[in-house]
């Protein structure tokens, strides 16, 4: 009964445009990629007056990786199973902690939920196994700056507010994919499901490159976080960067998953 209620609640919460078509076609949500055109965006940290950062064209998974997809990966790569992974590469307290066993990712619905509790090393290995890679911070932020209608919606108050609300009211457990409305590029669920790994998640700490206004880890506590930021009002971006600042390669967090790029 509780499960039914939870599923109904999720159905109500998650916009599901396109879901039926995908299911009918038998495609796994994470198998599909969308192409993002080359462009520019303004990163959270930089100097006012800096030229926007250029991002080359790339492809990004339409949906985050699911537990089922990650299960297929650990079936083929036993060294990434929960009981076998090397502690150097994944914090075992959090690694796939919501699975019932090494090869038990739950029932059919559970297996369509985003996989979380994966380390950076595991996420990287997973994407490589798929013949893909992790997106860079710039690529991820570039994709995430788009609303349903605009490429750079990061300074629109309604968009900022919408992301803040999504970030603070995530459904638990996360819904089965596909979920979340697609943005302008058709990428789904970038906001409000799990956080997602990036290849260079800690680059924010070394972004100084002698300009003297890069973000450093101290900027992510105290009010000084706003110093060096291009837009002090972009709270959703601050939340993402603060999370990245706290991560290490072996961290395995229940609210952090993976989506691959190519």
């Amino acid at each position: 009964m509780r499960r039914l209620a939870a599923v109904l609640a999720l159905l109500a919460l998650a916009p599901r445009a396109g879901a039926a078509a995908d299911d009918a076609a038998g495609r796994r949500p994470g198998a599909e990629m969308v192409r993002l055109p080359a462009g520019t965006y303004r990163p959270l940290y930089g100097r006012p007056g800096d030229a926007p950062t250029a991002v080359a064209a790339f492809r990004l998974d339409r949906d985050a990786a699911t537990r089922g997809e990650f299960l297929a990966f650990v079936r083929e790569r036993p060294e990434w199973r929960r009981g076998a992974v090397r502690p150097l590469f994944a914090d075992r307290r959090g690694y796939l902690a919501d699975w019932a066993g090494d090869l038990d990712a739950g029932d059919a619905t559970d297996r369509r939920r985003p996989v979380t509790g994966v380390s950076w090393f595991a996420a990287k290995a997973y994407c490589a196994w798929r013949g893909k890679r992790l997106p860079t911070v710039h690529e991820w932020e570039y994709a995430a700056a788009a609303s349903a209608t605009r490429r750079d919606a990061g300074r629109e108050p309604w968009f900022v507010q919408d992301l803040l609300t999504r970030y603070t009211t995530r459904p638990r457990p996360l819904p089965a994919l596909p979920a979340g409305a697609g943005n302008l590029y058709g990428v789904r669920g970038l906001h409000g499901l799990a956080w997602e790994w990036t290849a260079d998640f800690n680059s924010v700490l070394v972004s100084d490159d002698s300009r003297g206004v890069g973000a450093r880890d101290h900027d992510l506590f105290c009010a000084s976080a706003a110093v060096g930021a291009t837009d002090p009002g972009n709270y959703p971006a601050f939340l993402r960067y603060a999370l990245r600042a706290g991560l290490t390669g072996r961290a395995a967090v229940e609210t952090l998953g993976v989506r691959c790029a190519a």
Binding site: P157, T165, F201, L205, S224, L243, A251, E254
Partner: protein, 373 residues
């Protein structure tokens, strides 16, 4: 698809990051407002104000686990006459609770409560602070205790991922009543969502004995209704930036200290309120209707700075200690005397005083009597 077993060899460049960060912290000490710089040169200048030089020189004897309390309760006074090692354990959580009737809010908390659990240690104690972040949290949290001398007041050492734990130690050098809060970026959001509380560093000789001690903390919320009916409210960015709260409250919700939950005291008792203000924006004009503060320890310091005070200012991120005797039965009303906040937004609490009437203190002699409380 590659078939070779994955060999994750490319380590994130953390070592380089740490080295850069260390330099950056020094360089930016003046910007953060979170560090204490050396002011010795200035002090030696003519006419300089003498400074206290608290030291953690006391011998640490034994070890104990701090008992933390949820507001309005305060841990008992510390009776030991020596410094000790105190272990404090606090967990950050994110949970939906009542903000006002018909309004639930997704709070971020220290210890599951807003305001966060009250911590009481003694001047000279060595505090070993364990900060846990619940695995269900969506974001990292940390803690900046204003009682701490050191980078970020602890924040630099306690950035804690969901499911993680950080430990740091500090010497409780300066006695007084201090606010603590989360200081993860964006700081205003963490504070606006409820991440503040108080720590009392009790002076070596203790505070004068009173009959009742209470923990009262003001703060304000900028609540935006959820999209669906009945969905929890979340932070309203625009209202926050404009400093236009929807709710101004004592102890985390409208009515947290009224009705059945009102504070209680008896005629003839002496009451001490540890009053804090978590902000994030407003300064409180703290006043108790029907009472005069016999003593005010201004800004939460250790001296009685004023006697016979009507209204005392509690800054955002600051505190005050007030003491008074209750001489007459009835209900005393705690308010922020910036009075629209009390009347319209919730900044109102009650202290019920029971006991024998004292007509010489107060009596109505003519006119329409007010309804009994």
């Amino acid at each position: 698809m590659p078939t070779a077993a994955p060999r994750p060899v490319s380590l994130p460049p953390l070592a380089a990051a740490a080295a850069l960060a260390a330099g950056a912290i020094l360089a930016s000490a003046t910007l953060t407002g979170c560090s204490i710089g050396s002011a010795e040169a200035a002090e030696r200048a003519e006419g300089a104000v003498p400074r206290l030089r608290p030291t953690p020189a006391d011998a640490i004897v034994g070890e104990e686990r701090a008992v933390l309390t949820a507001a309005p309760n305060v841990p008992p006074p510390i009776t030991r006459a020596h410094a000790t090692k105190v272990i404090v354990e606090l967990e950050t959580t994110e949970e939906v609770k009542r903000l006002a009737d018909g309004v639930s809010y997704t709070f971020w908390t220290f210890g599951g409560e807003v305001p966060g659990k009250f911590i009481r240690v003694r001047e000279g104690d060595q505090v070993e602070f364990h900060l846990k972040n619940h695995a269900h949290s969506t974001v990292p949290h940390n803690i900046d205790l204003h009682a701490v001398t050191g980078p970020g007041g602890g924040a630099a050492a306690t950035l804690t991922l969901p499911g993680g734990e950080s430990v740091f130690t500090f010497a409780a050098m300066n006695p007084g009543l201090y606010v603590y809060h989360c200081a993860v970026s964006p700081v205003p959001m963490h504070i606006a969502n409820g991440m503040y509380g108080m720590i009392l560093v009790e002076p070596k000789g203790g505070l004068p004995k009173v009959d009742r001690e209470f923990y009262v903390m003001q703060s304000e919320f900028y609540a935006k209704p959820g999209a669906a009916a009945g969905a929890p409210h979340t932070l309203d960015m625009e209202r926050g930036a404009a400093e236009q709260p929807t709710h101004v409250v004592f102890n985390g919700s409208v009515g947290a200290l009224t009705g059945d939950r009102a504070l209680q005291a008896k005629v003839g008792e002496r009451v001490r309120l540890f009053v804090g203000n978590g902000g994030p924006n407003l300064v409180s004009s703290f006043h108790v209707i029907g009472e005069v503060f016999d003593h005010v320890y201004g800004e939460g310091g250790t001296m009685v700075t004023q006697k016979n005070v009507q209204t005392t200012l509690i800054p955002a991120g600051g505190s005050g200690i007030v003491e008074f005797g209750v001489e007459k039965p009835g209900t005393l009303v705690l308010v922020d005397h910036s009075i629209f906040r009390a009347f319209n937004k919730g900044a109102l609490a009650m202290l019920n005083v029971t006991g024998e009437d004292a007509p010489r203190v107060y009596a109505q002699n003519k006119g329409l009597p007010m309804a009994a409380h």
